[in-house]
């Protein structure tokens, strides 16, 4: 690989934030590197400076406190699979981690990196969206939290300011009786870029659906929640007709394109198939 850039290796988080603030707009934070290095090699990006977070160890913790699960931003995809808390409180995220790339990439790739890369095919984002996840963005100016569903502003663009780092990702422990799942439709079983990703989450109470969340990957400029589809089921009994209507609404709400992996038409149809399938499974699990 041929590339020229400066490299900063901060010793801790304050040093990292200071360095990032000083670096200007063409610095890129580097953690697992499974996207950044690939993009540099293919000349898709040409950062002036890389900020290697490899020594910022405090960002790699998973904690459960006061009703919330919080992941340090450098938690790897492999760490998710090893975490009992994540399995218990975010089964959809565990399912996504299990089909994420291959083991070597899972060992290096981080959750925040997957969120920050902004790829529509980022597999961890739909499950985090259905968990109502929040991001903590930190800079020398202070910290703020932002709902993940408000983070993306367009294809590979987001609300992160150049001097900010994603330092944590958190979500409320789901209500008892809620059920979430994720499905990755791809062209092969290992190391594949997603053709359609679907995450759903809902709880059944009194014969009606509550907390309905449906999120999609690879079918729009960003991963997205399909709120019209969610609304079809919210507070309603889950009849097959309503599930079909929600699936239809999800298919209408996305905006997939043709690429080397599939056509937009196929993707849109698959959104309908998979949303119906995952909702049906969630409701069966809830009963």
């Amino acid at each position: 690989m041929y590339a020229e850039f400066d490299l900063t290796i901060p010793a801790d988080l304050p040093e990292a934030l200071t360095a990032l603030a000083a670096a200007g707009t063409r610095a890129v934070p580097l953690s697992g590197g499974t996207n950044v290095l690939v993009d540099i090699r293919s000349q898709r990006i040409a950062p002036d400076r890389l900020l290697d977070l490899g020594r910022v160890h405090q960002l790699r913790e998973i904690t459960v406190d006061r009703g919330r699960v919080t992941l340090g931003a450098r938690t790897t995809v492999g760490d998710l699979l090893a975490s009992g808390e994540v399995t218990r409180y975010a089964p959809a995220l565990t399912e996504a981690a299990r089909v994420f790339a291959g083991q070597m990439v899972r060992n290096a790739a981080t959750v925040a990196g997957n969120v920050a890369c902004g790829s529509p095919a980022a597999d961890l984002v739909p499950p985090l969206l259905v968990l109502d996840a929040e991001l903590t963005l930190s800079s020398v100016r202070g910290s703020r939290t932002l709902a993940l569903c408000d983070f993306y502003t367009g294809y590979k663009s987001d609300q992160r300011a150049p001097d900010e780092l994603i330092t944590a990702i958190s979500w409320p422990i789901p209500a008892t009786g809620s059920f979430g799942s994720f499905y990755k439709l791809a062209r092969r079983k290992g190391d594949a870029i997603t053709v359609v990703g679907v995450a759903v989450s809902l709880a059944l109470g009194g014969g009606c659906c509550g907390g309905v969340r449906i999120a999609l990957g690879s079918v729009a400029p960003t991963p997205l929640r399909v709120s019209k589809a969610e609304a079809v089921l919210e507070g309603q009994p889950p009849t097959p007709e309503r599930i079909a209507e929600a699936a239809r609404a999800a298919a209408e709400e996305c905006s997939p394109i043709d690429d080397v992996r599939a056509t937009g038409a196929y993707r849109r149809h698959m959104v309908g198939v998979l949303v119906a399938r995952l909702l049906t499974n969630a409701i069966q699990a809830g009963n």
């Binding site: 041929y2 293919s42 092969r188 290992g190 080397v260 599939a262 698959m270 198939v273």
Partner: protein, 774 residues
């Protein structure tokens, strides 16, 4: 089951037929094996290739002045620096026959014909400097209309890629009377099958190191299947053949992609120009456009059949995409034509096959070499025809399969056994009980595919192979042969053969191989021929040495030479094994008497003339291998996703030399075949490859692989040493059609184009529903 498990019968051999640890295994397992890319030299330069980013264009301006001026750049070469140089792209063989007009410009002079065609070579003190210099070269290309579809390329007025028209090669096979055959048919079934381009995707991209030795010999250490390209490279750079030396190394995968010249010419030119050692390593992106891929083909099959299952006529029309340069297209096409009816008796046959130039990446050799495209079509067609007459696909095959002694399409009778029927039965049985249907949208299906695939090169090429075997004073054995080892254990097989013949154990044999000036020339490691050709040469050489040793032993033991046995490093009298001595002792006696303890042998394949140009009748290959593959799949009819559940290969390999190596070839063939059938796709947009990385070009991973069962039959009838046949290509040939047939069985409709992606399955099902089929 005695045919299945021939291990018992192999007990009469002491070294072959067993899963002995290959001579190349320990180094690979421990990571100590140096590959071509691991070699460095003091003062060596690093080279890069600048490539065109359009597929059809005129080179208007190429300004290398900034790159040349950069500190650390040793040289930048363009076509202006070597105006008359070109490299031959086809193989004339030893017939003295003239080459086709197939020479390729080494660097673009004026006309760019494919995406990635090299424009300039850069050599610099470091790889980074070379890369930086490459980015400083200014290129202006003027697009000119190209042609990217072979059928379009055949139309009048289509852009001509080079020469006078786009037809690169035509082959015809005519036998019997197809008109009468179709008239006698109860049913005629016509279908068109589309097979895709395929990339070899070896682990090790092309790499080499060149230097000029003390005798002014341009020496190249390179990963290649064919060290004998030293002649073509010498011709290209204008030096005598004995002043260019190519040394191989253990190769990290070939599959046909290292059968043509890749980095060698560039290295030779740069070494000649700079007089310094030069290393050139292709990136993965270079590799995708740095060697010819598998020909995409369109194969139209029209089969006449009687209600009771007899094929009365077959008409096959083939169009192959040859890409921008000829390379091995005429030969690949010939394999396709010869194998068009597959392993079936077809008395009334008409095959018309054309390879057509386009501005796509040039296509050339790839495991299966035309035979595999034919198999993808004929085995799907067999199922379609069986369906059309309401006959069980296995029963339909049984009625039409070639049996030992039957002539193939060209009228030639293969000299070995044809055990296809046995392979079909055993593979099908071994699938066992079908997987339980999980319900919902999942359907389970099964498919079978039989095949015919040659081993050994085209007989009109007059192929030969040499090997030298000698025995040392301590009883160890040395084999010297030019054969390249591309990972299948080619060198180890020679060691195992020499060990068997000379009665020593495998660790006592060492093979020196793959050096065009220092080891006897063995020909190519292609065409499933290395074992057949070089194995025979090694056996002949070892046998000659053994005969001389046995004569002396007979005298010492006062016995007849025929009574002398050699095994496990001892020589003995077979009927009286107490009379024995270490082989080393015998060798020392022989040495003191001046007995010749080594032998250089040559093995010659059958030599023929070319096939009749109008009828295609005659002999094309030395012999053929036969077998079958059975597959079970689960298909999600809503999403089109396919999971391969079971994979059973049944092959008559003639005789295993190393059983584990045979199984390894079968496993690799399954992986390669599953990718061909299901997921590997080279997409071009106006000739520009838009899937040039492993995130878009999708080979099956470990997570995609089913368990692979191997049923290995040994007819001992092949032309190779001890009756062996080839397995390198045959292991892959039937896999893709078996998958296609399993999917069609599962979902009730056929996808006629590979790879059979989830989306293609979904579309086929949508269309079928629209037609009201299901």
């Amino acid at each position: 089951m005695s045919d299945v498990d021939t291990i018992q019968r192999n007990l009469r051999f002491s070294q072959i037929g067993k899963s002995l640890t290959r001579t190349d295994s320990p180094g690979k397992a421990t990571g100590r094996t140096p590959y071509a890319g691991d070699y460095v030299m003091p003062g060596m330069l690093h080279a890069k290739v600048l490539r065109a980013d359009l597929a059809s264009a005129r080179l208007k301006r190429l300004d290398v002045s900034k790159a040349r001026a950069m500190p650390g750049v040793a040289c930048v070469l363009t076509a202006q620096d070597m105006p008359d140089r070109a490299i031959a792209t086809d193989i004339p063989g030893q017939t003295g026959r003239a080459r086709l007009k197939t020479d390729q410009q080494i660097l673009v002079k004026e006309r760019v014909r494919y995406f990635g065609e090299p424009l300039a070579l850069i050599a610099a003190e470091t790889a980074d400097i070379a890369e930086k210099a490459r980015r400083l070269i200014e290129v202006e290309l003027e697009p000119i209309p190209g042609v990217y579809d072979p059928e379009e390329a055949l139309k009048p007025g289509a852009p001509v890629v080079q020469g006078t028209d786009n037809v690169v090669a035509t082959h015809k096979i005519r036998k019997g009377d197809t008109e009468a055959g179709f008239a006698a048919a109860d049913v005629v079934v016509e279908n068109t099958y589309i097979t895709p381009f395929q990339e070899h995707a070896f682990l090790e991209p092309e790499v080499g190191l060149a230097w000029i030795d003390e005798n002014e010999v341009i020496t190249i250490r390179v990963c290649t299947q064919v060290i004998e390209h030293f002649r073509a490279v010498a011709d290209a750079i204008g030096v005598p053949h004995n002043k260019l030396r190519i040394m191989g190394a253990l190769v990290g995968g070939g599959f046909g992609g290292k059968e043509d010249v890749t980095v060698e010419t560039y290295l030779a030119i740069l070494a000649q120009k700079t007089r310094r050692p030069v290393r050139l390593e292709f990136s993965r992106e270079d590799s995708f456009v740095g060697h010819g891929n598998r020909h995409a083909m369109k194969l139209k099959y029209r089969t006449g059949v009687t209600r009771d299952g007899k094929i009365t006529a077959l008409d096959v029309q083939v169009i192959a995409d040859a890409g921008a340069y000829v390379y091995l297209s005429p030969y690949v096409l010939l394999y396709c034509a010869v194998n068009a009816p597959g392993p079936y008796r077809v008395d009334n046959l008409n095959v018309f096959a054309r390879a057509v130039a386009t501005n796509n990446m040039f296509t050339s050799a790839f495991r299966g070499f035309g035979g595999i495209q034919a198999a993808a079509a004929y085995e799907q067609q067999m199922d379609e025809v069986a369906n059309a007459i309401g006959m069980d696909p296995l029963e339909f095959r049984r009625q039409n399969l070639l049996q030992t002694g039957d002539p193939i399409s060209t009228g030639f009778v293969p000299p070995s056994a044809i055990w296809t029927e046995k392979c079909v039965e055993l593979a099908w049985q071994a699938l066992g009980e079908p997987a339980p249907a999980p319900g919902g949208s999942i359907r389970i299906g099964r498919g079978i595919a039989a095949f015919q695939q040659s081993y050994g090169r085209l007989t009109f090429l007059h192929d030969t192979s040499e090997a030298w075997v000698g025995i040392e004073m301590d009883g160890t054995v040395t084999v010297r042969s030019g054969v390249t080892d591309i990972g299948a254990g080619q060198a180890s097989s020679l060691a195992q053969i020499a060990a068997e013949v000379l009665g020593v154990t495998l660790p006592n044999v060492n093979v020196y191989n793959s050096d065009s000036q220092m080891t006897p020339l063995a020909g190519t490691t292609t065409a499933s021929r290395a074992l057949y050709m070089t194995g025979n040469a090694a056996r002949l050489a070892a046998q000659a040495v053994r005969d001389r040793l046995a004569e002396v032993a007979a005298e010492l033991f006062k016995a007849e030479p025929a009574q002398i046995g050699m095994e496990f490093n001892r020589v003995l009298v077979i009927d009286d094994p107490e009379r024995s001595m270490p082989i080393a002792e015998l060798v020392r006696v022989c040495a003191s008497r001046g007995v010749h303890r080594s032998e250089l042998a040559i093995f010659r394949a059958p030599f023929t003339d070319v096939l009749d140009p109008e009828t295609g009748q005659g002999q094309a290959h030395p012999d053929y291998a036969y077998g079958a593959h059975a597959i079970e799949v689960a298909v999600d009819t809503e999403t089109g996703e396919v999971t391969v559940l079971k994979s059973v290969a049944a092959h008559d390999v003639g005789q295993c030399i190393n059983r584990a190596a045979v199984e390894g070839q079968i496993h690799g063939g399954v992986q390669n075949g599953l990718g061909y059938a299901l997921s590997e796709e080279m997409l071009y947009k106006e000739g520009r490859l838009i899937t040039p990385s492993f995130s878009e070009y999708l080979m099956p991973t470990a997570m995609d692989m089913p368990p692979v069962a191997s049923i290995i039959l040994e007819s001992r009838s092949g032309l190779g040493p001890f009756g062996s046949k080839g397995i390198g290509e045959p292991s892959m040939t039937p896999v893709a059609p078996a998958v296609a047939n399993a999917i069609a069985d599962a979902i009730g409709v056929r996808v006629f184009e590979m790879p059979i992606t989830p989306e293609r399955i979904w579309r086929a099902l949508q269309e079928a529903r629209a037609r009201g089929c299901r």
